[in-house]
Amino acid sequence: MDEFFYRALAAGFGLALLAGPLGSFVVWRRMAYFGDTLAHSALLGVALGFLLHIDLNLGVVAVCLLLAVTVVVLRSTQRLADDTLLGILSHSALSLGLVALAFIQGLRVDLMGYLFGDILAVSDQDLLWIFGGGLLVLLLLALIWRPLLLMTVSEEMARAEGAPLLRTQLVFMALMAITIAIAMKIVGILLVTSLLIIPAATARSFARSPEQMAVAAAGVGMLAVTLGLGASFRWDLPSGPAVVVAAALLFALVAGIAPVLGRDRLSWRVLR
């Protein structure tokens, strides 16, 4: 039991460290629904992994990337509104994944585990994925931080100043795909975006710079993981949802006390 718990905690911390900075960008760039769409395609990646006998994580990363590129291409060629397009892709991808898994003969998968996460089943190999992949994601994110932030503020200005838009965009998509593959293990496909968004939104209340928000979001995420897993062990709760509930409670708490402390987002000039 102890070993399970600490392994789960390590996995959760690894994810929170990633989800903080990346989730901040998801919030700033208003990509919550986009993240959801990518996550929903992950099941298709699992099916692909089984079919091709490759590492399931690789399958997930490949399918997420493919979907991300599809979204970008369709956005520029279709006249559909963004949320309509994402709605179509999101639910088609999820259903396609479920159908594909059902088609694979003789395969019995823990569907609940994929949908809602099974952090207690994290293996040593998974931990390697989480920390190896996580380190790569954070390194790459640090490399594209400045152009990505400028693009987030104004894409037109970034283009005028010669920022490498396409490259930055593609790297960011790849980072999202890797993070989703990692997060799937822990909170499951349906809850992936929550760990990206809730800690970042919580950190927003007290952060005064983009970097502060990214780091604080990672901290909030780690706290949510600790509380959620603790509760999960104590009361035998499903671990993924417990972590998300813990994150939501932290958000509500901070959102509730932030105005009282006068640290509302527009008032930090008063404090200086």
Binding site: V27, W28, R29, V153, E156, A158, E161, G162, R204, R269
Partner: protein, 252 residues
């Protein structure tokens, strides 16, 4: 009051930007049709025209943000262009101070932040969040960020859009001061013609992707086509007075 402008010195020498016969098409429609444009150092060139005339397209094409379909575009070697977009707003969820925004540039900063902040009168704003700025403050911050690139050409898309009359006057005065102090070429878009008149050296009037008149602001007032499009706008407010035939639509 706005200072008396020195008219541009002889327009000899190589222009900063020289565009000939620019054509831009999108979806079979010509957005720009055979447009010529020259911008010299120390010159303030204003693009005017009704909505949809192609002003933004011309500005962006001239500085290379939009690809041209035909024509030639020559820059003085080593030319640095700073662009200030019209649409701008920082997402409420992004905690970004003015100081940080000014420093957030792809290339290393060339100018001195404190000096530029004084020049654009934004010293007091440096530690504020971007979201707490008023329209005029936000415009000055954008200008400051562009100036930190120490540009040879300053391209401004409606720098006074959405400001009240006092704010507009202040903005155009600031642009004039910057131009005089730094001697850079300035390319401005405006549809508030009466404010531009006093500030600009040259006006380029666009309609439906074509230039239909160009010249010093004074000389344009008599231009018949200009009268048709802008006659009703060329009111007082600027120091450029003009008599016009009183008609039924006049409000004075």
């Amino acid at each position: 009051m706005s200072p008396v402008l020195p008219r541009p010195q002889a327009r000899a020498g190589t222009p900063l930007i020289e565009a000939r016969g620019l054509i831009v098409r999108r979806g079979g429609r010509a957005l720009l049709h055979e447009v010529d444009l020259e911008l010299h150092a120390g010159e303030l060139l204003t693009l005017v025209g009704p909505n949809g005339a192609g002003k933004s397209t011309l500005l962006k094409t001239v500085i290379g943000l939009i690809a041209k379909d035909a024509g030639s575009l020559k820059y003085r070697p080593g030319l640095r262009v700073a662009y200030v977009p019209q649409q701008f707003g920082v997402d409420a969820n992004l905690p970004l101070s003015v100081r940080r925004f000014l420093r957030l540039q792809v290339a290393p900063l060339r100018g001195d932040l404190a000096a530029v902040a004084a020049e654009t009168r934004i010293e007091r704003l440096l530690d504020r969040p971007m979201q707490a700025l008023s329209g005029g403050e936000s415009r000055r911050v954008l200008l400051a960020r562009a100036l930190l690139q120490e540009p040879d050409v300053l391209a401004l898309d409606e720098p006074a859009a959405g400001l009240d009359t006092a704010g507009q006057t202040e903005m155009y005065e600031l642009i004039q001061q910057v131009r005089e102090r730094r001697g850079c070429g300035v390319l401005v878009i405006s549809h508030d013609l009466h404010l531009v008149m006093a500030a600009t050296d040259q006006v380029l009037c666009l309609n439906e992707g074509k230039i239909f008149c160009r010249g010093a602001p004074q000389s344009l007032l008599e231009h018949p086509e200009y009268q048709t499009l802008f006659g009703h706008q060329a009111g007082p407010a600027t120091g450029v007075y003009t008599h016009h035939q009183h008609g039924p639509e006049c409000k004075h």
